[in-house]
């Protein structure tokens, strides 16, 4: 089960993901990123309270990489727990998705 909240700041959109993203809940993450992309803002995603992610959730992030590039916008993830970061790293996603430790690092990077 996942809870997702979206907040719009001056020059970026902040999405907070809380809980578990799997094949049954990844649609909620998909909807939130799609809505943020439509606002043509940079996107910061707070994953501090993300306890679990499966390939369905990883696939959502990957599926929007090209669109962020085409729109010249950035998508930055921050605050991943070590066990969650490990899942991203199994696929080498740290090389294609910008991930930082803290929100302030994320704000500096947008």
């Amino acid at each position: 089960m996942v809870e997702i909240s979206t907040k719009e700041e001056a020059d970026y959109c902040l999405i907070e993901v809380n809980g578990e993203v799997d094949a049954s809940s990844s649609i909620e993450l998909d909807d939130a990123i799609k809505a943020a992309l439509e606002k043509k803002l940079n996107l910061l995603i707070d994953l501090q309270k993300l306890d679990y992610i499966s390939s369905a959730g990883l696939g959502v992030f990957i599926s929007y990489l090209e669109e962020f590039k085409e729109n010249e916008r950035k998508m930055i993830l921050f605050g991943l727990q070590p066990k969650v970061r490990e899942v991203f790293e199994i696929l080498g996603l740290q090389h294609i998705i910008k991930m930082v430790d803290t929100k302030s690092e994320g704000i500096d990077a947008v």
């Binding site: 094949a23 990844s26 199994i90």
Partner: protein
């Protein structure tokens, strides 16, 4: 030690699968990150079988059993009566292909292959069987 679970093919049951695997791993002395990866691999196989082999039909069931041979290995058997998946015909997409096609799928089996030490698909009577193995390497 053996653990068993039988659940309907509904994606909402994946959390039950993860809890079941998590409980079985309690006895293994594996670290949290390692347990997390194993739980993920089983979740991925179950999600694939629910979605692709059984069309998320809750009248169909997945039978999951876990055998823990202490200090040696974990064996996960997942059985269903749905459509057979032929791993020999599976082409592993590159990350470049997945990114440029903007697709959301295609990552699950890659994760499973990188996490587990063995993955086999077979059939027996009316059942499709996926067997996952993970060696437990402890220093003596």
């Amino acid at each position: 030690m053996q653990y068993k679970l039988s659940i309907p093919c509904s994606k909402s049951n994946l959390e039950k699968v993860r809890n079941f695997v998590s409980e079985a791993l309690n006895d293994t002395q594996l670290e949290e990150v390692e347990c997390h990866k194993i739980i993920l691999a089983v979740d991925e196989v179950c999600a694939n079988m629910m979605i692709h082999s059984n069309g998320c039909n809750p009248s169909k069931k997945l039978d999951i059993s876990i055998e823990h041979v202490p200090f040696k290995q974990l064996e996960f058997i997942i059985r269903d009566t749905g459509k057979y998946f032929d791993i020999k015909g599976y082409h592993e997409p590159s990350m470049q292909e997945i990114v440029s096609s903007k697709r959301k799928g295609g990552l699950g089996l890659i994760l499973v292959k990188r996490i587990m030490d063995g993955i086999e698909f077979s059939t027996e009577k009316n059942y499709n069987i996926c067997k996952l193995t993970k060696k437990l390497n402890f220093e003596v």
